[in-house]
Subunit: 221 residues, 2 copies
């Protein structure tokens, strides 16, 4: 096992170096970068579709989409008339900093002040890979149950915000929102928590405002 651990450490060290290069690139171009991670099907792309509709009124936005296969998600963003770059990992279970770096040449930085990076749907592996983003957001659908932060703690511990999505379905679920919030805060006491529905739009405005605030704070710093 020793050799595997060493190799993993080398991979993560190399990833951190490239992530730092990405972050410098973002800062030089004045772009604020937010990553989104979640289980498959938690609604990351739907959240982006609704949030971008609001955010584009304030700032110039763009998206890097990560998927194991297909360019479905980039096409959904492009359908909004927004710049989207698709990274297909071809079986790999997460984005890494090098994949993001490879996509940066296709990002029209002059026209993008706020860049989202949507990771592969996976609550485990993406947690280990810094992409150079300024903010990390984890999305969890309320249909997945309350206990995901306890079962997949690394992702929730390393995120800045948690979006509890699909709250329009709450009337039809046995889901205890207070318990869900408590479990998330048990894993990460500083996690900012939002409750959203991409069907009704509820909560998305609050999430967008928070992102714009964080963006302003970053530019002021």
């Amino acid at each position: 096992m020793a050799k595997i651990v060493t190799l993993e450490q080398r991979i993560l060290k190399k990833n951190s170096e490239v992530a730092a290069e990405n972050r410098r690139c973002f800062d030089e171009h004045g772009a604020f970068v937010v990553s989104l991670a979640s289980s498959p099907g938690s609604g990351k792309t739907s959240l982006l579709e609704v949030a971008l509709g609001r955010l584009r009124q304030e700032v110039a936005v763009g998206v890097i989409e990560g998927d194991v296969q297909t360019d479905n998600d980039a096409r959904r963003i492009e359908a909004l008339g927004l710049p989207a770059v698709q990274v297909v990992t071809n079986g790999t279970c997460h984005l890494d900093a090098q994949m993001v770096q490879g996509a940066l040449e296709h990002v029209p930085f002059g026209q993008v002040e706020l860049l989202f990076i949507e990771n592969v749907g996976n609550l485990v592996c993406p947690a280990s890979y810094d992409l150079g983003e300024h903010l990390r957001v984890v999305v969890a659908s309320v249909t997945e149950g309350e206990d995901k932060p306890l079962k997949y703690p690394a992702m929730f511990r390393r995120s800045d915000a948690l979006v509890l999505n699909k709250i329009d379905l709450l009337p039809y679920l046995r889901y205890d929102m207070n318990a869900a919030r408590a479990m998330a805060l048990q894993v990460n006491p500083t996690l900012k928590i939002f409750e959203t529905s991409c069907v009704t739009g509820e909560g998305v405005g609050e999430f967008c405002e928070w992102i714009l605030e964080q963006m302003a704070r970053n530019h002021a710093a």
Copy 2:
């Protein structure tokens, strides 16, 4: 990259060898083994709870639970008065054959004819690891959308059956069941597809009958 690929191939080769040992162990003890994989929160444990209530009337059942953290799931199975062994992967994103082998000494084989192995919630990484199971089942909740087989094809290609779970929520979703089935069959034309609800119990009986049929066929072979 060459070194990494070689190491990955060595890991998968070693995994296949141990999986073959597991399968021999299962066959020697006359135990039929079914693995379950899915995204986090698709309802694998809930499906087991409902299915085991039916299956235990026909055969002696047991479960190996895989989780990144917590023994929540094994406790849910034990609460039914059934033997459950928890494997905590401590951050690893999938079960492998050696983790399962390590759990086998805790399985009361004389009392278990049908053993389920519930994998970590992850649609990517578990696809690569043979555990020695006889049947592979992938579970997807209808709340995750129709296109998961196209976006995470390996898992669907390497499974024998797909359980489309949480169909009690269909009235509240925009979900096209025919499109979902077509996308799954596009990736794996021999996939057996079930539609289930663990709230109403709908479809679970059909799923259980299919497992018992496969078990009988395996014993006859």
